[in-house]
Subunit: 203 residues, 2 copies
């Protein structure tokens, strides 16, 4: 559980971090190995010592995202809010902030890869799915905690999946339009839905 894979070298870590950033900013295919090497100040021999191929580097990036999901995305939101519903919206607000910080240019890195990578990359698709599943599990914790305020028989897993759907769809439109409005709209309609669920749960 504690030992991850290998004693990591700083070179390897730098490669993964630079690749992560470039794949996010420009996409996987448009990012060349040469650019990664340049910005990481690493030579090609070192990269191919750690990663047999570019796809293996992407796999490492996705593994890192999976490791960082809790500490970077979920935990800060959960620490800011204690109410389970507000925790969900705090997570969504994190994406709003990151959209803004990137000037509406960068969305969810996992969602980007989910659509950029055609299905000839099974390990990539598996890791994208694992990232989604971990995200949904975190939200599902909140929905579970809300259970007695929601209508009887509400399917927490389905609702959590829906929250991910709304986040990803909203981020996509915000990027496409170059404005935050579609994302904020999506979040606000989602909140309206939750309010109606809660109102029904009371009655």
């Amino acid at each position: 559980m504690s030992v991850k894979t290998q004693p990591r070298s700083p070179t390897r870590a730098r490669l993964v971090e630079v690749a992560r950033r470039l794949f996010h900013e420009r996409g996987y295919h448009p990012t060349g190995i040469a650019q990664i090497l340049r910005e990481a100040e690493v030579n090609s021999g070192s990269l191919y010592h750690f990663f047999p191929s570019k796809e293996d580097l992407l796999v490492a990036v996705l593994e890192k995202y999976r490791e960082l999901l809790r500490p970077m995305v979920i935990d800060p939101a959960f620490e800011r809010e204690s109410d389970p519903l507000e925790r969900v919206f705090a997570v969504l607000d994190g994406y709003r902030k990151r959209l803004l910080e990137s000037n509406l240019k960068e969305g969810c890195p996992i969602g980007n890869l989910a659509l950029e990578m055609s299905d000839e990359h099974p390990r990539v698709r598996r890791l994208v799915a694992e990232n989604f599943t971990a995200w949904r599990a975190a939200v599902e914790e909140c929905i579970d905690a809300l259970a007695d305020r929601l209508p009887e028989g509400t399917n927490a897993e389905a609702v959590a999946g829906f929250v991910l759907t709304v986040m990803e769809g909203g981020v996509m439109q915000a990027r496409a339009y170059g404005t935050l409005e579609p994302y904020e709209n999506a979040v606000s309609v989602l909140r309206d839905y939750f309010e109606r669920l809660l109102a029904d749960g009371e009655g």
Copy 2:
């Protein structure tokens, strides 16, 4: 209004159609000009006679999508159903069918491009946005037609944008997981939302 741009040649049409299909199946960047030429049985001189660059070809593809949106996506759904709400879900059911037909490998071509193309392609982004806007407008017609059954003050534009959000987010997850379930879940939760809106509109 009727004359589009130019008297079109069959070669040009074949190039656009093959490019459209390949960009959808494999993505824009992984698709090489050589592959397009091969499958369209066209030589490079002809391609560059019509399109100064690969990006211009993509622009033509996106213009074609915009032209085909009504006849291929919206009209068939609207013809199948007359109730405005059912029309919305008939459009969504079209995406479900196309997901299935592609074996969960191909989602929404516009959504794919929205996330694959970084923002260094202004014409592409504009056309992606135009496609989204046309899609939302079609759905908004339905929401407008529902107005008197919805709670007072419901923002039809916001609801239509939310429907697109849910479609795109659902398609993304379906592709990522390789199963229709996340999409069907998204649509069914969206229906639950509409039912609650309608119930509130009655009261």
